[in-house]
Amino acid sequence: MEREIVIHTEELTKRFGNFTAVDRISFDVYKGEVFGFLGANGAGKTTAMRMLCGLSRPTSGTGTVAGYDISRQYEKIKSSIGYMSQKFSLYEDLKVWENIRLYAGIYGMKDKEIERKTAELLERLHFTRERNAMVRSLPLGWKQKLAFSVSIFHDPAIVFLDEPTGGVDPYTRRQFWEMIYEAADRGITVFVTTHYMDEAEYCDRVSIMVDGRIDALDTPANLKAQFGAESMDEVFRSLARKAERSE
């Protein structure tokens, strides 16, 4: 069975002056997949992700996200993706439901639909009582869960998660990953960067960037076999050792 491709890049490159941040990367991501995007700081992860999100244009090479060209149709890409960053991205001085309404409104959802889905979401997260609470007053783990739910509230084709679990305790991280799987089951492709190697094990496939190139791309099991390693952590370290540039 041919799997549907939602992200496709060919020789994607970004140069800043003489510095090649992303060096001819080519890869495919399939629909409903949890795709881990790994790399040391400065390896070019963020730059690559910004191009895929339509925030910056490639110097050369091509790519499509959700069927749209990243060099030309980036406005269309923006409507088809969700995004959550390591920095907490909800407004602390807005109530839970106001945050949801704001982001839903940004993505052009109708008031009726927003209302229905908000009730549903709060029910699912057991947040119904916190509907009118200021986001400021929620514990960090809850905030992260809420932020993730908001990022996929408009049912995007792909959600980009930039180190979503930074600073969150292991238990909440576990719960967070359960939410990621749920989203993937619903057919939302999850593109996630992380520093935690145990999280890399949770991904369907993992790519590891070194010095702007993708040096390895496969399932965690295959990667471990290929590098004769016990864990993803070992795989990552044996690749990262070859890196010539640091931050």
Binding site: K78, Y83, L90, Y91, D93, L94, L102, Y103, G105, G108
Partner: protein, 370 residues
């Protein structure tokens, strides 16, 4: 349009829920108006005066009474010897000493005339100059009456009469109100807008907004709308306070005053936008607005000191500050009551500044997002 509405609603929530900022933004104009209007006045009133009269008699007493009776001066002390002049001034007991010469009354009608000396504490040069001119005026009046009474023609010839136009009571509030309007509007629009945009960058929410399908221009404009509303409220507050509390009337057309003010508000909103494209931290935005905008505005915009008396080099700085032109326009429209046509130059310059600021900041904004 739906997105835009959602954004503006969010911005109002941000402001309304931040009680402290709200309070500052709405109360600051009131405090400044009252401070400048009453406390920081440059008017001469109840200045302490000491008198040195070696030969006190009826004539000197009449002059002293005349000085004391005026609302400007209060005679606090009679000195016995000239050495006491310095002591009283140094001790701060009096700011002005009126010293009569020897044989004052006797020499009054002699060909050489009689001598009188005014010794003033000139550590505040401007105020000292005012004391001298007020005291000199009282004495001149007196001698003119004396001359008229005795039929001598010594004081005839040129008699000048002075008329104070636009501000007949010489109130300093007339001078300060336009300045405060210029300062407050700049602080609120430029500073608050820039801080609020930079805050989103600092919090990380800006990133999420940029990844969303919202066009950056919407994000920015929706930030400006609430501050525009607040500035309009401030404008109304200031005008009401100045008319009913400080007694400074709007001499000209209220409409043209408001139109120029709205233009100035937009100028400052775009200035705030420009600052926000240069700063990545709220502290930096605050520093830029505080140091680069507020201090020069207070000193160089003509708000307190006349631009003509500022060194040439600094005058160029004055001319690139938007408040300079706004304050000048308000003086014409509000205080002098001139028709709008007399403020066309200021209006055109403000308009040009606004266009340049908006163009630059939009270009910068685009550049930063890349």
């Amino acid at each position: 349009m739906r997105q835009f509405g959602a954004f503006i609603r969010k911005e109002f929530f941000h402001i309304l829920r931040d009680r402290r900022t709200m309070l500052i933004v709405l109360v600051m104009p009131v405090v400044l108006i009252i401070l400048f209007g009453f406390a920081l006045s440059t008017e001469v009133r109840n200045v302490n005066v000491a008198i040195l009269a070696p030969e006190p008699d009826d004539m000197t007493r009449r002059i002293v009474e005349r000085i004391d009776a005026s609302e400007y001066f209060t005679v606090v002390r009679w000195l016995d010897t000239p050495t006491e002049i310095h002591e009283t001034l140094r001790a701060g007991e009096a700011q002005l000493v009126v010293a009569f010469g020897q044989h004052f009354s006797g020499n009054l009608f002699s060909p050489d005339g009689s001598q009188m000396q005014l010794v003033v504490d000139a550590s505040d040069a401007n105020m000292a100059r005012s004391y001298i001119s007020y005291a000199g005026g009282i004495i001149a009046d007196f001698s003119r009456e004396m001359a008229a009474g005795t039929g001598t023609s010594a004081q005839e010839g040129i008699s000048s009469s002075v008329q104070f136009l636009y501000n007949p009571q010489m109130k300093s509030a007339y001078h300060f109100v336009p300045g405060i309007m210029g300062l407050i509007m700049m602080l609120i629009c430029a500073m608050m807008t820039s801080i609020s945009i930079v805050r989103e960058k600092e919090m990380g929410t800006m990133e999420v907004l940029l990844v969303s399908p919202v066009r950056p221009i919407y994000i920015v404009v929706s930030k400006m709308v609430p501050y525009f509303v607040i500035s309009c409220i401030n404008l109304i507050t200031i005008l009401l306070l100045s008319v009913f509390v400080l007694g400074v009337p709007v001499a000209g057309s209220l409409l043209s005053l408001c139109l120029v003010s709205l233009l100035y508000i937009v100028t400052n909103l775009s200035l705030g936008l420009l600052i926000s494209t240069m700063a990545n931290m709220q502290v930096i935005a605050l520093m830029i607005s505080g140091l680069v905008l507020m201090v020069p505005t207070m000193i160089l915009s003509g708000m307190i000191f006349p631009i003509e008396s500022i060194p040439r080099v600094l005058q160029f700085v004055s001319y690139i500050l938007p408040p300079t032109w706004y304050i000048a326009a308000v003086r014409k429209l509000m205080i002098q009551g001139l028709p709008w046509i007399f403020a066309w130059k200021e209006t055109v310059i403000l308009l040009a500044m606004t266009i340049v600021l908006i163009a630059t900041s939009l270009k910068q904004l685009k550049h930063r997002l890349e």
